[in-house]
C-alpha cells in the first residue's frame, strides 16, 4: 500500500516569497490534515479536511496561508508571503476519518525562510 506522498522534501526561499506544498493521501482516506512542526516542538494542526470540505482551520494564519483539497483527494498548502517564523516542517497526514483511526504521515516538507 502506497503511503502519504509529499513534495517537495526541501525548499529554501527568501522572506516575502511564496511557496506551495503538495500532498497525496492514502487512497480512500477521507480525512486529511496539515501540521506545522517547528524544530524541537510537537506538530501543530493547521487545517483538517473531510473529503473536500474544511472541518477545522482555526489555527491557520489565513492572511498568508491557504489550503485546498481538490476533488477530495490531493491537497496543496500555500504560503504567501513567507515570513522567517514560517521555517518549519510541514507534515501531511491522512486517515479513514473514524474515531479509532490512526493517522498516516508523509515524510514532510522542510521549509527554510531566509
Amino acid at each position: 500500500e502506497a503511503g502519504v506522498a509529499q513534495s517537495p522534501r526541501y525548499k529554501i526561499i527568501e522572506k516575502r516569497q511564496s511557496v506551495a506544498f503538495w500532498c497525496n493521501p492514502i487512497s480512500g482516506h477521507a480525512t486529511l490534515y496539515w501540521y506545522q512542526q517547528i524544530l524541537g516542538q510537537g506538530p501543530k494542526l493547521l487545517i483538517q479536511f473531510q473529503n473536500n470540505g474544511v472541518v477545522d482551520d482555526s489555527q491557520l494564519p489565513k492572511d498568508r496561508f491557504s489550503a485546498e483539497r481538490l476533488k477530495g483527494v490531493d491537497s496543496t498548502l500555500k504560503i504567501q508571503p513567507a515570513k522567517l517564523e514560517d521555517s518549519a516542517v510541514y507534515l501531511c497526514a491522512s486517515s479513514f476519518g473514524t474515531n479509532t483511526g490512526e493517522l498516516f504521515f508523509g515524510e514532510g516538507s522542510r521549509l527554510t525562510v531566509l
Partner: protein
C-alpha cells in the same frame, strides 16, 4: 495551544532498560494515541487507547490511560538503540477527529 504535555522532555537510558514517558491533556477525549518520530522523518503510529480502556499492550509497548487524571503513560520495555526517537501523544477532542499533539519526549537509548 498544545493539548498534551509530555514529560520528561528528554530521557537517556541504557539499552535493555525500560523507558517511561507521560502525557497529560486538558479536555475530554475520544481516544489517545502515541506516535514515534525518528529524526528528519514523519510520525509513525504506535498504539491507540480508547477513552473507555485503561491499559493496552503491543509488543514491547504498554500504554495506560487515566481519564480521571487526564493522563497517559507509555512504557517501552527492554529498550534498544533503534528506539531512539521522539515520542508524542495525540488526543482527539471528544466528538471530533481533530488530533492535537503534545510537546514530545526525546528518548535516547545508549548501546
Amino acid at each position: 495551544s498544545q493539548q498534551g504535555e509530555e514529560d520528561p522532555q528528554a530521557l537517556s537510558i541504557q539499552e535493555g532498560e525500560n523507558a517511561t514517558m507521560n502525557c497529560s491533556y486538558k479536555t475530554s477525549i475520544n481516544n489517545l494515541q502515541w506516535y514515534r518520530q525518528n529524526s528528519g522523518r514523519g510520525l509513525v503510529h504506535l498504539i491507540l487507547i480508547r477513552s473507555n480502556e485503561r491499559e493496552k499492550h503491543s509488543g514491547r509497548l504498554r500504554v495506560t490511560l487515566d481519564t480521571s487524571k487526564k493522563s497517559s503513560s507509555l512504557l517501552i520495555t527492554a529498550s534498544r538503540a533503534a528506539d531512539t526517537a521522539s515520542y508524542f501523544c495525540a488526543t482527539a477532542l471528544m466528538g471530533t477527529y481533530k488530533y492535537i499533539f503534545g510537546t514530545g519526549t526525546r528518548l535516547k537509548v545508549l548501546a
